[in-house]
C-alpha cells in the first residue's frame, strides 16, 4: 500500500508540538528539508535528539521550535562552534541532555531492540555520569566489573532520509549509515524521505541493501536534494562552503532571522530552495559517478 504523501502533509500529520523528534543522519543524509518544513509549520516545544545537532537543529532552535536538545557532540562539524544552540545553553534558555556518541547510539539501539536499557563498559571519565542521572551503573550478573547503563530512547518521530525507496517505504541507503536504522526502529512513527521513489522490483533486486522495511514506516515523501547543505552519497556533495558560511551567519541573531526569512519562510518547499540555490551551486555539488560492481544473487 502506497504511503506516498507530500512532505508538508507528513509533517502536519505526524509531528506535534512537544514531540521527541530524531532527525537522523550522521553528517550524511541529514533531512534539512523536513527541518525547514517543521519551522514553516511553526511547531513548538519539540525535544530535538541527534548525536550531532548540526545546522539543522541550530536553525530549528533559532526558529523557536525546541524546548530541549539531546546530543553527544554539539559543534559545526569540521568548522567549530554550533553558535545558536551553544548560546541558548550558555544563556539558560534551552534545556539539554548529554551523552557520548556511544551512549547516544546505545540508547537508540535499546529502543530499536525493545529493551529498557543497554549496558556499556566503563570509561573512567565519570563526570558525565554525575551530570546526567540517566547514566547509571548496573551490576554484571555474571560477576564482572559494574557496567554503565543508558535508557532506551524511543522518539515519537524519526525522520530518515534515504537514496531510494519504494512507495511502501522499503528503503535502500548506502554511504555513511550513522544511526539511520536504529532511529527508525526505535521511533513510534517514521517519516521516510527519499531522493528517488523506485519500483519495488529495484528494492527486490538488492535485498541486502534494504536497511529500513516498509512495516515500520508511517509516511514516504519524495524529496530530491532534501539534505543540502548535508549530502546524499553519490547524488550530491556536502556543501562545505555553506557550513563555513553558517559560522558567520550564526554570529548575529539578526542575520539568522534574515536567513530564515529568505531561505525557509519565504519559500514553499525544497524545489523552491534548490532552484534558488542556482546553477553554479548545483554544478559545484555535482558528483562524478563511481559505481559498485553488481553482485549475483542467483536465480533459484
Amino acid at each position: 500500500m502506497s504511503k506516498l504523501v507530500p512532505l508538508s502533509q507528513a509533517i502536519a500529520d505526524h509531528i506535534h508540538d512537544g514531540d521527541v523528534v530524531y532527525a537522523a543522519g550522521f553528517t550524511h543524509l541529514i533531512p534539512f528539508a523536513a527541518g525547514h518544513e517543521i519551522i514553516r509549520q511553526g511547531r513548538r516545544d519539540l525535544v530535538l535528539a541527534r548525536a550531532t545537532p548540526d545546522l539543522i537543529y541550530d536553525q530549528m532552535v533559532a526558529a523557536g521550535c525546541a524546548r530541549k536538545v539531546i546530543f553527544s557532540y554539539m559543534g559545526n562539524p569540521g568548522v567549530g562552534s554550533l553558535r545558536i544552540v551553544r548560546r541558548a545553553i550558555e544563556g539558560g534558555t534551552l534545556q539539554w541532555e548529554e551523552y557520548s556518541h556511544f551512549g547516544m547510539i546505545t540508547r537508540l539501539q535499546a529502543g530499536a531492540a525493545g529493551l529498557p536499557f543497554l549496558p556499556m563498559n566503563q570509561t573512567g571519565a565519570t563526570d558525565l555520569e554525575r551530570a546526567n542521572p540517566n547514566i547509571r551503573r548496573v551490576e554484571d550478573p555474571y560477576g564482572g566489573k559494574d557496567l554503565l547503563a543508558v535508557p532506551a530512547l524511543q522518539p515519537d518521530v524519526a525522520i530518515v532520509h534515504v537514496q531510494r525507496a519504494d512507495a511502501n517505504g522499503n528503503a535502500h541507503l548506502w554511504g555513511i549509515l550513522g544511526e539511520q536504522k536504529e532511529a527508525a526502529f526505535a521511533a513510534r512513527r517514521v517519516i521516510l524521505t527519499a531522493e528517488e521513489i523506485v519500483d519495488e522490483a529495484v528494492i527486490r533486486s538488492d535485498p541486502n541493501r534494504t536497511v529500513i522495511p516498509s512495516m515500520i514506516v508511517t509516511a514516504v515523501c519524495h524529496v530530491p536534494y532534501c539534505c543540502h547543505p548535508s549530502y546524499a552519497q553519490g547524488y550530491y556533495d556536502r556543501d562545505n562552503e555553506f557550513y563555513v558560511k553558517w559560522d558567520k551567519v550564526s554570529e548575529s541573531i539578526a542575520a539568522v532571522e534574515e536567513w530564515l526569512k529568505e531561505w525557509v519562510y519565504g519559500l514553499r518547499d525544497r524545489n523552491d530552495y534548490w532552484e534558488k540555490l542556482g546553477e553554479a551551486t548545483h554544478r559545484r555539488l555535482q558528483v562524478t559517478p563511481r559505481l559498485s560492481l553488481p553482485v549475483n544473487y542467483g536465480q533459484y
Partner: protein
C-alpha cells in the same frame, strides 16, 4: 628547512604511528598526521572514522569526519553502533587521536565546559566519540599548541580519561586501553611517567625547557635526558603542503 608550528606537530605525531596500526582518525591535524604516515613509513595504516568508515583512502582533504570522500573506495562502512561496539569496545583499535580544550597533569581531557557544567561560561562541543576512544584504544595521542590555559593542573570536567588521578586508577576502572601515551605540542612532547603524570620527554629543535615550563599549568618535570626531536624532512613538509593540504587550511605558517 622552514616549517610552521602546526607542521612540526603534525610531523611528530605522524612519527608515533606504526605500520599496520588501526587508527581512529579525527578531522584536521590528526587526519593530516595519519595521511602523512600512510604516505611515508606506514603504508598499511588502516584509518577508521567514528561515522563508521573503515580503511578510508580520502582523495581530498575532508572538512568533516562524515565527508563522502571517506566512503568512496573505503574497505567497509558500518553503523555507528558497530563501530563503537565491535571495533572500539571489543579492542580492535590500536590508536586514537584526541583533541580538547584542556589537558591536565594526568592526561585527562576536558572537551565539555568551562566555568561549571550546569551554567557553563563556555560551552564546548562535548565528548563525541572521545570518551570511549580514550578508554579503549590501545594507545592515545593528543596534538595541541603548548599554552598555559590549555594545560591546567586538573581539568574542571573530565570528558575523557587519561590516567585519572594516577597510579593504578585506569586498571581499577577496568579500562582496556593504554591511555594517553604522548601529547605532541609545538614546543615538544609530554609522556606519562610510571605514576601517570605527564613529563617533558622531548623538545623540538631550538626550544627550551623553560619555555615548556612557562606554558604548563603545573610544575612540569622533565625526563633525564630530554631528547631533541628530528628536524622535519623536506619530503614530509612537501607532502603536507603540496599533496595533503594544498589550501593551507591546517598547516599554514603560524597556525
Amino acid at each position: 628547512m622552514d616549517y610552521s608550528p602546526a607542521e612540526l606537530m603534525i610531523i611528530n605525531a605522524a612519527h608515533l604511528l606504526r605500520d599496520g596500526d588501526v587508527v581512529f582518525v579525527g578531522v584536521g591535524q590528526p587526519n593530516l598526521a595519519c595521511n602523512l604516515a600512510k604516505r611515508t613509513h606506514a603504508p598499511n595504516l588502516v584509518m577508521i572514522y567514528e561515522a563508521g568508515v573503515i580503511g578510508a583512502e580520502p582523495a581530498r582533504l575532508p572538512l568533516s569526519i562524515g565527508d563522502p570522500t571517506l566512503v568512496s573506495g573505503a574497505l567497509s562502512v558500518v553503523s555507528m553502533y558497530d563501530i563503537f561496539t565491535n571495533y572500539l569496545q571489543r579492542g580492535n583499535v590500536d590508536v586514537g587521536f584526541m583533541g580538547g580544550a584542556q589537558i591536565d597533569k594526568y592526561g585527562n581531557i576536558n572537551a565539555t565546559a568551562i566555568g561549571g557544567y550546569a551554567q557553563p561560561k563556555v560551552r564546548l562541543p562535548g565528548s563525541g566519540g572521545s570518551q570511549e576512544i580514550a578508554a579503549w584504544a590501545n594507545r592515545c595521542y593528543i596534538m595541541t599548541p603548548h599554552q598555559k590555559r590549555r594545560f591546567p593542573e586538573k581539568v574542571e570536567f573530565m570528558t575523557s580519561a587519561g590516567a585519572i588521578s594516577g597510579g593504578r586508577d585506569r586498571q581499577l576502572a577496568g579500562l582496556r586501553g593504554g591511555g594517553i601515551l604522548a601529547v605532541v605540542t609545538d614546543l615538544g612532547i609530554l609522556e606519562p611517567d610510571q605514576t601517570g603524570e605527564l613529563v617533558l620527554t622531548a623538545l623540538h629543535p631550538g626550544r627550551t625547557v623553560d619555555e615548556a615550563k612557562q606554558q604548563t599549568g603545573w610544575p612540569l618535570r622533565t625526563a633525564e635526558p630530554v631528547r631533541t626531536t628530528p628536524e622535519p624532512s623536506h619530503s614530509e613538509v612537501r607532502i603536507l603542503r603540496e599533496e595533503l593540504d594544498p589550501a593551507g587550511l591546517y598547516v599554514k605558517p603560524g597556525a
